[in-house]
């Protein structure tokens, strides 16, 4: 398969977006009943579910800390998530790495010292993948943590920027990620602008990186507003009844 042309003559991208435009993003909080906190993110064709358990007893006990909760994270791709072949279940090298960097992202904002000897589990399931799953995962997990009532210093939002046909572009689609020149996922603490996750592959100049960071920061302002809105909606509509995942949003 040859490399498709990723930018149209009018400067718009294959899906009609401007360079600094996000794909459609929908967020819902409180979608699962058993998890202490949960969220669903539908971003482009990405469909991501996050569930949080804890603070709960740390197992095994010898791993527990007398000073703080242990944060655990599992990023997992469902075997049916890709348009291509059926995947294997269980962790891959990629998912183990992503679980680690996502955990480290949240270790910055969770006030873990409030819950010594416990653990907080962040479980992320990629139900459908479309490029940018780790950013969708972080965005979902942040809402799930807030829904679980876990004290956070800040909300976390994430988005990827990259280089497509020589132009810095926001929120790469799967094709742009596969055939573009660079991909740089970034997570921000919403209020103080701290960068909590930063990865990059491909080639960028330092000016392009600065431009990309700026673009991602602007987008994360919008994303964190949607996250707050999702939590507000969930709590306004809070009933004692069943929580329901609505995959049609």
């Amino acid at each position: 398969m040859g490399k498709p042309k990723l930018l149209n003559d009018d400067g718009k991208r294959l899906d009609g977006r401007a360079l600094d435009e996000l794909r459609p993003l929908k967020i819902a909080a409180r979608v699962l009943n058993d998890a202490n906190g949960s969220a669903y993110v539908h971003w482009g064709k990405n469909r991501v579910l996050a569930g949080v358990y804890g603070p709960r007893e740390c197992i095994p006990k010898h791993n527990s800390s007398p000073y703080a909760a242990q944060i655990k994270c599992r990023y997992n791709m469902a075997p049916f998530c890709s348009l291509e072949e059926h995947g294997r279940s269980g962790p891959s090298r990629r998912s183990v790495e992503l679980s680690k960097v996502i955990r480290e992202t949240f270790e910055n904002v969770i006030i873990a010292g409030a819950y010594p000897k416990t653990q907080i589990d962040i479980y992320i399931e990629i139900l459908q993948s479309d490029g940018g799953t780790r950013c969708a995962a972080i965005t979902a997990a942040a809402v799930a943590l807030a829904d679980a009532g876990i004290p956070l210093k800040d909300m976390v939002s994430a988005v990827a920027v990259g280089k497509v046909e020589g132009k810095i572009s926001l929120d790469l689609s799967k094709e742009e990620d596969n055939f573009g020149q660079s991909d740089m996922p970034i997570a921000f603490a919403s209020r103080n602008g701290d960068v909590l996750l930063l990865q990059m592959d491909g080639q960028l100049t330092k000016e392009e990186i600065a431009q990309g960071l700026q673009m991602a920061r602007n987008a994360c302002v919008k994303i964190s507003a949607l996250q707050a809105e999702a939590l507000r909606t969930a709590y306004d509509g809070a009933k004692n009844g069943e929580k329901q995942l609505d995959l049609s949003i």
């Binding site: 699962l32 998890a35 064709k45 059926h86 279940s89 139900l127 069943e242």
Partner: protein, 256 residues
């Protein structure tokens, strides 16, 4: 000992003496069931099923695989089930637990022995055939995963598109029509507590059960059964539960 679970177990039993349940249902009544299909674009077929607070996803992916040696002219049908750790405080990440393997195998038997998928039509050439992977994903556990899984699996199969195959390869995102599905197989699960039977046991009810029986039916025959837990069943009880499974099975079939 978990005090809260112990108390719940007791209240389930006490209510049952009056033929009542925690949520006010009749003994042979399902919780509210919702079935949503075509929930994913990337998989060839998909469904999201809710039974009360239990939520299960079913998704179909096709692949290319070598036929089994004993059936060289047939494609492969494979059913997997995963208890996603976000689905319950009891589910743990790691290798599949005995419960998730049992769930996958019981769901698989219900669909496989129903013979409603013509795997011979999956044959491509010597040593090559389409493989249908049906994944069951439990994302919220409030009991009776068996019926939710069989319903989600069946609903996903019923709206599965056949992939386009060219030169022995699947063309992603292109389809040639619907997967033919001859009939609808569904399961009904009962919990036995003392001498009484409860249809569609919730998690609290399952904690108090002595025995579990799952009966998968087609409109005209039984196509799989599974007894679970330490308790026992009488022959007469099994016949009665099969009778009820046909009746309740029709209700389930009308939903998918």
């Amino acid at each position: 000992m978990d005090i809260i679970n112990e108390l719940k177990r007791e209240s389930v039993k006490k209510l049952l003496e009056k033929n009542e349940r925690l949520d006010g249902r009749a003994l042979d009544e399902y919780r509210r069931i919702e079935v949503h299909t075509k929930v994913f674009e990337n998989s060839e077929g998909s469904a999201h099923v809710r039974i009360g607070k239990t939520q299960v996803l079913g998704a179909v992916k096709f692949g290319i695989a070598a036929p089994f040696a004993d059936k060289p002219d047939e494609g492969v049908l494979s059913v997997g089930a995963e208890l996603a750790p976000l689905g319950s405080f009891m589910f743990e990440p790691g290798p599949p637990s005995p419960s998730s393997i049992e769930l996958a195998r019981v769901t698989d038997r219900g669909i496989r022995s129903a013979e409603i998928i013509d795997t011979k039509s999956f044959f491509l050439e010597a040593g090559k055939a389409l493989a249908l992977y049906l994944d069951i994903y439990v994302i919220d556990n409030d009991g009776n995963l068996f019926d939710a899984a069989s319903l989600a699996g069946m609903a996903a199969l019923l709206n599965t598109k056949m992939p386009k195959v060219e030169e022995g390869k699947i063309i992603p995102g292109e389809y040639t029509g619907q997967l033919p599905v001859a009939k609808k197989a569904v399961s009904c699960t009962f919990a036995k507590i003392g001498e009484k039977f409860l249809l569609d046991p919730s998690l609290d009810e399952m904690r108090g059960m002595d025995t579990r029986l799952t009966v998968s039916t087609l409109p005209d025959c039984v196509c799989a059964m599974q007894k679970g837990e330490w308790g026992a069943l009488k022959e007469k009880e099994i016949v009665e539960l099969i009778e009820l499974s046909f009746k309740k099975g029709e209700e389930l079939r009308s939903l998918i």
